[in-house]
Subunit: 370 residues, 2 copies
């Protein structure tokens, strides 16, 4: 208890010291919503500053991989007399979810205060800067769909593979209703947990359905990095083995085990980043499988690529305003000129991060299966 | 802080003493099955020794919380010329799953090589020492049930609460079949993810069903530490708020949303450790709700407690041989003498850890709903 009292006094001293140089930092820091249960740090204030506190009395240096305006640079922590290390980002962070880690004495570790999220081919710490529009992915008192883990047989990879399936509220009661399906892919270094954990895809859907903005559909999320021989290497990546898993193994399994409308007109594919590249490659290679395509920070379609193929019902292309919004807008305009139904979306003040993709899912969902 | 340093020195001394006896270590180490994808360390050999390797070139000391024969003591790592820290347990570990963490320069962190599991009120690193009977919880080419996350409304706690529901293979196809339900609780400091992640409850069920050893039933797993005002404190723990959540909110929700046989004779409750204490308290307080009771390393029933109440169809009481097996056997014998159907089970060569509870689930499942 004495230790805690001392820590509080020291923190107050340290914080008042910082305030001299940073007169504009508002001292209303609260624990991040991504913290492990009961953990006070990391904290976030109303301006989007993040503050970190790590206990490691004998460490030589601790640096947080997050810094001003995103993941560039980092935030070094300073040692306090009580053996804790503290530091605040030099400025407000972008709204939304950020992966981060600690570099302690030259080694990469997670922040013991934060929950872990699979990204960069490892379970990373995560922090959430509350967004002004966070309501659309909030847990509300509305009917909730379920997210279930399934294990499906895959001959091509000789494994039982895992997928998560979102079924909308009422799925188990409306036993005669059949639903369209969106196949939704994570990015490089992430896995099939990303869209539920980091993306809140289930809550986005629950809220859109409760507001009457979309008709209910199923979402299927599986692991897309199937060429694991060179694990984690984007250079060796090819969508072909995953195309087999997805189109020849998973889709038939889903259609056999869930109440789907099992045709092309009621099937969409979307992906973020590398998942967008997969979506691009697989929708073009297997035009008989999907009618709605969506690339979230994951490249574009061109009229040339589509020539001679059946026209999809929709191509949705998005990214954050800190990525390449002009490319995205121009691609959609070019597709429209060529007679395709293409829609672009730019997420304001976000980069290659999950708030861009949460917003993209919210935007594309009402356009699917119309 | 000095205490920690002293502790590290003492541990190092103790271990180096033990190392003298360590001549027979077989050099067939392989990555642990609990490792993060692509990670080479930690490793386990055929004798049950665990070897750790952590990169932190400028650290002063790194100690792994696991040591000889379980969680007692620890394994200090030594610095190699390449800046990595390596170390091997002073002896073989118990078979099964162990939580652990690293103490780096006096601070508690997870091993970046290992997956994380919620235990001790934090996401801890985990390692698996392959058990001689590991086949019963292995992922096999059999029909798989699904584990789905549900969010159920709870008026008593004013939240949407999370539970995981295991539905056996065929649940979605056999739309007229109704199933009994086991409510299965985690231990102190764990949460509703434990029985699927650490416990492999779904795989244990898949395998038992595939072998025809049990009739399929549903398992429901939710968070049992509802008195979160004093988060994580076992002393402030009482089962009463959870009794309300479980019996008055979750059970009606499950019966309304899944195809259950919604009566006492087709409902069981089991829990490990603190979850056993909850099971004990709630089955006795609400005898109208359950007919099958199981305490896994979580105390016993006595005939006195049961006097005047309807006799349950089964009381199953288990623990590891390194816990208090005599108490468990004697309790079952006393209950039998008093005319109750009581069964005891002792897991050989395991302590208060998850292999004890995996084996207990395998043993109790065939006795339920007979």
């Amino acid at each position: 208890m004495k230790f805690r009292t001392l820590a509080i006094v020291l923190m107050a001293t340290l914080t008042s010291g910082l305030c001299v140089a940073q007169t504009a930092v508002v001292e209303d820091f609260k624990p991040s919503t991504c913290n492990q249960p009961g953990q006070e740090y990391p904290q976030v204030n109303s301006q989007g500053y993040a503050r970190f506190r790590v206990i490691a009395p004998n460490a030589q240096s601790i640096v947080v991989s997050l810094g001003l305006g995103g993941a560039k640079g980092g935030t070094p922590l300073a040692k306090a007399a009580d053996g804790s290390w503290m530091g605040t980002t030099a400025g407000p962070m972008d709204e939304g979810f950020h992966y981060y880690h600690l570099t302690i004495d030259g080694g990469v570790f997670n922040d013991p205060g934060a929950m872990n999220y699979y990204g960069s081919t490892r379970w990373e710490s995560g922090i959430e800067i509350p967004a002004h529009d966070k309501d659309f992915y909030a847990l509300k008192d509305v009917p909730h769909g379920n997210v279930q883990q399934i294990l499906f047989p895959s001959k091509s990879t000789n494994t039982s593979r895992r997928a998560f399936v979102y079924t909308p509220a009422g799925y188990d009661k409306n036993v005669k209703t059949k639903y369209p399906v969106l196949y939704l892919q994570h990015g490089w270094g992430e896995d099939e947990t990303a869209w539920s954990n980091q993306g809140h895809a289930n809550l986005i859907m629950d809220n859109l359905i409760a507001e009457g903005k979309i008709k209910p559909f199923i979402i299927v999320m599986t692991y897309g990095m199937t060429n694991e021989a060179k694990f984690g290497s984007i250079r060796s990546f090819t969508a072909k083995p995953f195309e087999t898993v997805l189109v020849d193994e998973l889709i038939p399994y889903i259609d056999a085990n869930f109440r789907t409308i099992a045709d092309k007109d009621h099937r969409a594919m979307a992906g973020l980043s590398m998942g967008g590249m997969e979506t691009h490659a697989i929708t073009l290679a297997r035009p008989e499988a999907f009618s709605y395509y969506a690339l979230l920070s994951g490249g574009i379609y061109t009229p040339d690529e589509l020539k001679g193929k059946a026209s999809p019902k929709l191509m949705f292309i998005s990214c954050g305003s800190r990525e390449n919004p002009d490319m995205v807008k121009k691609a959609a305009a070019t597709l429209k000129e060529a007679g395709y139904n293409a829609v672009s979306f730019v997420s304001e003040n976000t980069a290659h991060e999950f708030l861009t993709w949460r917003r993209s899912l919210k935007e594309v969902a009402p356009l699917l299966f119309q």
